[in-house]
């Protein structure tokens, strides 16, 4: 006997009434069962039919049984704003570390923001070849080179950033 999904299985189809849906115990989800063959004459179901004709599964009323106020859970993304200074620049900028996916993303944003080239990080040489070195002040107050620690560790330990320029920058890059 075909299973009847009364409420929302009332899709308009071109198939004949009484057509069996394929057995789908092996399928993950049931396909929409055919509409009411026995009760095709009833007004009530006809009205419901029109109501739900284009219904997709997600439009079943009250299913799953989760109350409305539970359906709109807010994830409050608090930002991780840090100040960014650049040597010689008259004022500082502020960025939200949370919006970047990783170091390349961050460095590109800094390059755009300050109109400069930082280049590529290497463990041995820092940002060799560039006049600039991105540094940050960590929780202990130490000035560190951006890129040495994993990204996740960086974003929680970074208090503020500083883009160093010139000879000072090169000095940092040669630290072991």
């Amino acid at each position: 006997m075909s299973k009847m999904n009364m409420e929302d299985g009332l899709n308009l189809t071109l198939g004949l009434p009484g057509r069996d849906e394929s057995d789908c115990f092996k399928n993950n989800k049931r396909s929409q069962p055919e509409t009411n063959d026995e009760s095709s004459g009833t007004t009530e179901n006809k009205e419901a039919d029109m109501e739900t004709a284009p219904a997709t599964k997600s439009q079943v009323v009250g299913w799953p049984p989760v109350r409305n106020y539970r359906r709109n859970i807010v994830q409050k993304e608090s930002g991780m704003y840090v100040k960014v200074s650049m040597d010689g620049a008259p004022y500082l900028r502020k960025i939200d570390l949370k919006v970047y996916k990783g170091y390349p993303d961050l460095l590109k944003a800094l390059e755009n923001m300050f109109k400069l080239t930082i280049g590529v990080y290497s463990e041995r040489d820092g940002y060799k070849g560039s006049d600039f070195a991105p540094a940050y002040e960590d929780k202990d107050g130490d000035l560190m080179l951006v890129g040495d620690v994993p990204w996740e560790m960086f974003i929680v330990s970074c208090k503020r950033m500083r883009i160093m320029k010139g000879s000072e920058a090169k000095g940092l890059g040669y630290n072991v």
Binding site: M1, T42, T43, E44, E47, A48, G62, R70, V82
Partner: protein, 591 residues
């Protein structure tokens, strides 16, 4: 019995009644009291005279007059209204369950009423004003899943009920009348407040008044804040009320303004401030709220974790990594509510620490079919292995296996409540492809204390034969999109001898299944069947056979009309001592 010459001795009957009344004053269980009242007339009278707490499971089962006529010295009234499926928009808005006739009925009869507890009732602001005006000794108002009132009504209660000890608004829909109700408490002196819970009130709160109120409420033990209270404000309240045992933490995040993020160092200091605030609230055993949690603040609760018996994180979109540092301290936890964002991994962490867990509820972040399944049979299995004392579980998931459910039935024999919601309708066991019959069958068979069951997934009539055969203690059964034929319903109605509440939707059960319950319906609180295959004619037959049963038939879209042979959209029936209700809206047909 010889009469004394010295003093007046009352008649033997009176002596007996006096003795009985004194004894009955100690009897609180309503089942025991119901039994007592059936012994004989004088016991009925004595019991009625001494019953101070009245529980009405269905507001339409009898009239307010009948209650006030029988019980004359009532201190506390509990009334339940709408059927539970109203929570899921299956009941039209104006269906009923009005509190008004009750409050007017009780206003004259119960001058010493102290407590009102309502669930799923429609309560108006006028009703609340009537409560405030009618009961001079009023102390406790608890409203659960109610609607129809607003902040104006709350203001009326708090301003006039000077002895108010308990005001608990739980999962209500409260309209914002722009009334500053928190400022309406009597302005001077200490209050008697022991419990103030307004988590569900969706309107901003005057924090200054709230802080002032908390500061002069030395007896306050339970405080439930709404999401408009920031974590900084929470901190201040906690320092005012270190004696709290139950705390609903509000938003648990800082306010939106960007300047709050300017000083990262200050942020860190604040986190440690919050930690010390929790550390000084040594009595906290129940935590909830976290309505808009900024996850990095969650570790602030660690100081109270070791003492927590209840933790409700069901509004907190956190992952396993964010949960673990906190949950690993919660050795005494008995009740845990969470979102499936914690994943199977988070549940594993719960299972490893919370050996005393009695109740678990896992809600879905994404309540759509074919959504991302964050928890699965793995989480259920882990819980069943780690939390052997589990008594109650509500679990939403996208996939499940019979094996995991069977395992839980064996690992957790103390289960009283088993509610599994596989979100995709008609989902089979995702490994074997078979129906979920065997899993649920094992639950009813092995969990001998089971009283409440909710089923889901692909289920054949076989599942219902198991339920009927083994579910002898089941009082509440919830069925959706399940079964093959009338025989399924027959199994349940004939087999579940203790069935009180039956709610079924979208299942192929028809008239003959319904009729098999005729001998049972007078012993049940209600039967709900929506989008099934019962016809109007079938319902009429039931109504004719059982005159004391109120048989309501209606459509969710409130349309009227329909033929006798039509399938009924919604059938809701219940026993009543006072006949059909007078306040049924037009679209409700009472057969």
């Amino acid at each position: 019995m010889p009469e004394s010459n010295d003093h007046f001795t009352p008649y033997p009957d009176h002596v007996l009644e006096n003795v009985l009344e004194n004894v009955l004053a100690f009897l609180h269980s309503r089942r025991d009291r119901n039994a007592v009242s059936l012994v004989c007339r004088s016991w009925y009278r004595a019991e009625a005279y001494t019953r101070s707490d009245v529980f009405i499971g269905n507001c339409y089962a009898l009239s307010p007059r009948r209650v006030t006529d029988r019980f004359t010295r009532v201190r506390s009234v509990t009334i339940k209204g709408k059927p539970r499926f109203a929570d899921f928009s299956l009941l039209p808005v104006n269906w009923g369950a009005h509190f008004t006739p009750w409050v007017s009925g009780m206003a004259n009869a119960y001058r010493t009423l102290e407590k009102i507890h309502l669930k799923r009732m429609s309560v108006t602001d006028d009703d609340l004003a009537a409560v405030a005006n009618s009961f001079p000794r009023f102390k406790e108002l608890v409203l659960v899943c109610c609607d129809g009132f607003g902040t104006a009504g709350i203001a009326a209660v708090v301003s006039r009920c000077r002895g108010l000890r308990v005001l608990e608004l739980i999962e209500d829909e409260v309209s914002d009348d722009y009334v500053d109700w928190i400022s309406c408490f009597p302005a001077d002196g200490p209050t008697n407040l022991e419990s103030l819970m307004f988590d569900c009130v969706e309107s901003p709160i005057n924090f200054e008044s709230l802080e002032n109120l908390v500061a002069r409420s030395p007896l306050l033990k339970k405080l439930g804040l709404n999401r408009f209270v920031t974590i900084g404000q929470l901190h201040r309240l906690m320092t005012r009320a270190p004696q709290l045992t139950h705390l609903g933490t509000g938003s648990f995040s800082p306010p939106e303004q960007p300047e709050q993020h300017e000083h990262h160092e200050n942020d860190n200091n604040r986190v440690s401030d919050y930690v010390s605030a929790f550390a000084s609230c040594k009595s906290v055993v129940c935590l909830s709220g976290f309505r808009e949690i900024a996850p990095e603040y969650l570790p602030a609760i660690i100081p109270v974790c070791a003492n927590l018996s209840s933790l409700n994180l069901s509004f907190a979109n956190i992952n396993a990594e964010q949960l673990k540092p906190v949950i690993r301290h919660c050795h005494k936890l008995r009740v845990f509510w969470a979102l499936d964002s914690i994943g199977d991994e988070g549940l594993q962490a719960v299972a490893e620490t919370c050996k005393d867990l009695r109740e678990l509820r896992v809600f879905p972040i994404d309540a759509t079919e074919n959504g991302e399944g964050l928890v699965s049979e793995m989480g259920l299995l882990a819980i069943s292995i780690g939390c052997r004392k589990l008594q109650s579980i509500l679990y939403f998931c996208q996939q499940m296996t019979n094996a995991a459910v069977v395992a839980m039935s064996k690992n957790c024999p103390d289960l009283v409540v088993f509610r599994l919601c596989i979100i995709g309708r008609f989902s089979p066991d995702h490994v074997t492809g078979e129906p979920m019959d065997e899993g649920f069958g094992a639950i009813v068979k092995n969990c001998k204390k089971l009283t409440r069951l909710a089923v889901s997934g692909l289920l054949t009539d076989r599942a219902f034969s198991y339920i009927g055969q083994y579910g002898k203690l089941v009082r509440t059964l919830s069925v959706a999109f399940a079964g093959d034929s009338d025989i399924g319903l027959k199994y349940v109605l004939e087999g579940c001898t203790n069935l009180q509440k039956l709610e079924i939707r979208d299942s192929p059960f028809g008239d003959s299944g319904l009729w098999s319950g005729l001998p049972r319906f007078y012993n049940m609180r209600f039967v709900w069947m929506s989008s099934c295959r019962v016809t109007r004619e079938g319902c009429l037959d039931v109504a004719r056979q059982l005159p004391r049963l109120v048989v309501e038939v209606f459509r969710r879209d409130e349309e009227e009309g329909g033929e006798k042979s039509d399938f009924v959209n919604t059938l809701y029936m219940y026993r009543s001592l006072d006949g059909p209700r007078a306040d049924a809206p037009r679209f409700v047909n009472i057969l």
